[in-house]
Amino acid sequence: MLLEKEARKGAAVTTFAMATRMAAGDGLLPSATPLQLIDPDGRPGENAGELALPEPRILLELYRRMVLGRRFDQQATTLTKQGRLAVYPSSHGQDACQVGAVLALRDDDWLFPTYRDTVAIVTRGVDPVEALSLLRGDWHCGYDPYQHRIAPQCTPLGTSTLHAVGLAHAARLKHQDQAALVLLGDGATSEGDTHEALNFAAVWRAPAVFLVQNNGYAISVPLAKQTAAPTLAAKGIGYGIPSLLVDGNDAAAVYSAVRAGITRGSDGLGPTLIEAITYRIEAHTNADDAARYRDDAEVQTWLARDPIARLETYLTAEGLLDGNAATRLAAEAERFAEGVRKRMNIDVGLDPAEMFAHVYARPTAALEHQRAALLSELEDTGR
């Protein structure tokens, strides 16, 4: 539990280091334009702000994971068209956010993903088949959240921001050096829970990082109908939360920004709000028709800002990547996709009795009765 010493230390930090800065709003407002470490043409960015370029080893891993993630995303989309998945919200185009954010996490940190963040989950190490359990329709969450410290994918928008803040605050109370990263979209910033979470996090100085993947649309509703704020990152000042506006198609910038947020939290300085400007190349899901609300020309513009091509150009120019390595990686991605495809094409046997097993820690008498009735019904009808 929180010791008095810690409370005093925390109070001192607020009094001397932050109070005067906060009164002036210093350090709370984001940059006017998105921070970039690598520009869309693959050259060193000229608006890096305080972000530090990750070391080559990290850059190469960001690239590798984006290539694998993109191939996984394509495979999942194909499986949906084949009827193997009930639905799949693609993150194609948001690859830098998916991978950059996750690689910035330390082992003990927690990830709070949404339904569009399956690539992030797989990048964190979850078995792809377990990660797709929700979207295949087998169970609501197919992986063990404690194994990789990943909350279940959250469907009600904004609600998991509060879970992340609670988890981060608990870590502080228990003196665990542990942060929580919550992923949300531009639409979720309009939800009341997001407001409450930012406020609670700031008041408690919880080690939480909010990464808003601003892809321009909440299903069909464009950002202009979502907010009148100059940027979503600009909202941070209202909570006393330092904010960063980054190029969400620059994996290095996303990595560096999230890492900075984690470090701030770890240092007892509280939460960070990051807005990453990106774009959803595919429709909201396979059930959506994006042509009804956006032009193909806009999609083409963003295809030209592809996060993988950008990093590949940079790495190649820096002599960190050659054609052989890229070919080997492409082969690795194919093997990965093939494994996912093969395993997803195997029908899983679901146990109907499991519906009753986890409602409570132990099934109630009434649930036992209903379970027995269902099993008897299935036996009678030979289903």
Partner: protein, 347 residues
């Protein structure tokens, strides 16, 4: 994660065991339960609006922040969804939050967190993530409260699988049920009948006794079963006494646990008496009593001498303070209900 809580702490039970039982209010009993749980298990936290220095608007958390420190008993920003949502995250990280919603209707902003996450996370994760959270909510009327301070919101919660919903009718049971709720691996919505906060009882406070999911017969009788909970337990006991003048020997069953429902105790009582009336403050239409009447009819049809009746609040938004006495089921209305149980058909 769901291996919850060590046995009762030394300070709590051992300290009290040797003492002569003194009169205690329900608010005092709840305060003692929180203090004893905080002593017994360092994972237990108490938080909400005004629960710190003030001790809660009903003083249920009085003195706890001073005794256990602000890291364990603390005020939150004024946002109910935030309170429940962050409690969920804390429980995911191994803590045992006991949170307070200030009033029944002020808990509604948290409804999505309660129904979509608190109730479902254990099921969503195939039992891997348990949420041993207690949500304390003062409910019901009878205190002259203005609008939004007097709702009986139990049916919203009992209709949500994954939640336990309990409500005490007496001070001793308030202590017992709250200790049991904090010990419970499932999320518990703990409804406190606010008009009974100041009712007194002379009884030893102990978590032992009827389990968290058991109903109890508060008054044995042979002619008719009054089925009730929370604030109307006392009203029904008074009605049962008054009924003796009419020659009726009335049994009163206090449900304690609204979800799950104790079919065993209730069916046994109704089969014994052959008549039953469900009493609650909440509106009758699709209210909790409808479920009670339906399931006991299904289970006891051949034992019934009359349809199971409901004596409830009217199907109106909770009335203003000067009219609430007309809305709340009272002794006369309960006796009228008993009188309508087709006694003449037996003659």
């Amino acid at each position: 994660m769901t291996e919850v809580l060590s046995p009762a702490g030394e300070a709590g039970q051992a300290g009290r065991a040797g003492e002569t039982a003194a009169p205690v209010t329900m608010a005092g009993a709840l305060n003692a339960a929180l203090a004893d749980s905080l002593s017994a298990d360092e994972r237990v936290l108490v938080f909400g609006e005004d629960v710190g220095a003030l001790g809660g608007v009903f003083r249920v958390t009085d003195g706890l922040a001073a005794k256990f420190g602000e890291a364990r008993v603390f005020d939150t920003p004024l946002a109910e969804s935030g309170i429940i949502g962050t409690a969920i995250g804390m429980a995911m990280n191994g803590l045992v939050p006991v949170v307070e919603m200030q009033f029944d209707a002020f808990a509604y902003p948290a409804f999505e967190q309660v129904t979509s996450h608190l109730a479902k996370l254990h099921n969503r994760t195939r039992g891997r993530v348990g949420l041993p959270i207690v949500v304390r909510i003062p409910v019901g009327g009878g205190i002259g409260g203005v609008e939004h301070h007097c709702d009986s919101s139990e049916a919203y919660y009992t209709h949500t699988p994954g939640l336990r919903v309990v409500t005490p009718g007496t001070p001793a049971d308030a202590y017992r049920l709250l200790r049991q709720s904090i010990d419970c691996p499932d999320p518990v919505v703990f409804l406190e009948p606010k008009r009974r906060y100041w009712s007194k009882e002379t009884a030893a406070l102990t978590p032992d006794g009827p389990a968290i999911d058991q109903a109890v017969v508060r008054r044995p009788g042979t002619d008719v079963t009054l089925i009730t909970y929370g604030g109307t337990v006392q009203t029904c006991l008074e009605a049962a006494e008054a009924a003796t003048a009419e020659g009726w020997d009335v049994e009163v069953v206090d449900l304690r646990s609204l979800s799950p429902f104790d079919d065993t105790t209730l069916a046994a009582s109704v089969r014994r008496t052959g008549r039953a009336v469900v009493v609650h403050e909440a509106p009758g239409f699709t209210g909790y009593g409808a479920e009670v009447a339906a399931r006991l009819t299904e289970q006891c049809f051949h034992f019934l001498e009359a349809p199971i009746l409901r004596i409830t609040g009217f199907d109106v938004p909770y009335p203003p303070p000067h009219l609430e006495h007309l809305h709340l089921p009272d002794v006369d209305r309960i006796l009228d209900g008993i009188a309508r149980l087709q006694w003449d058909d037996n003659a």
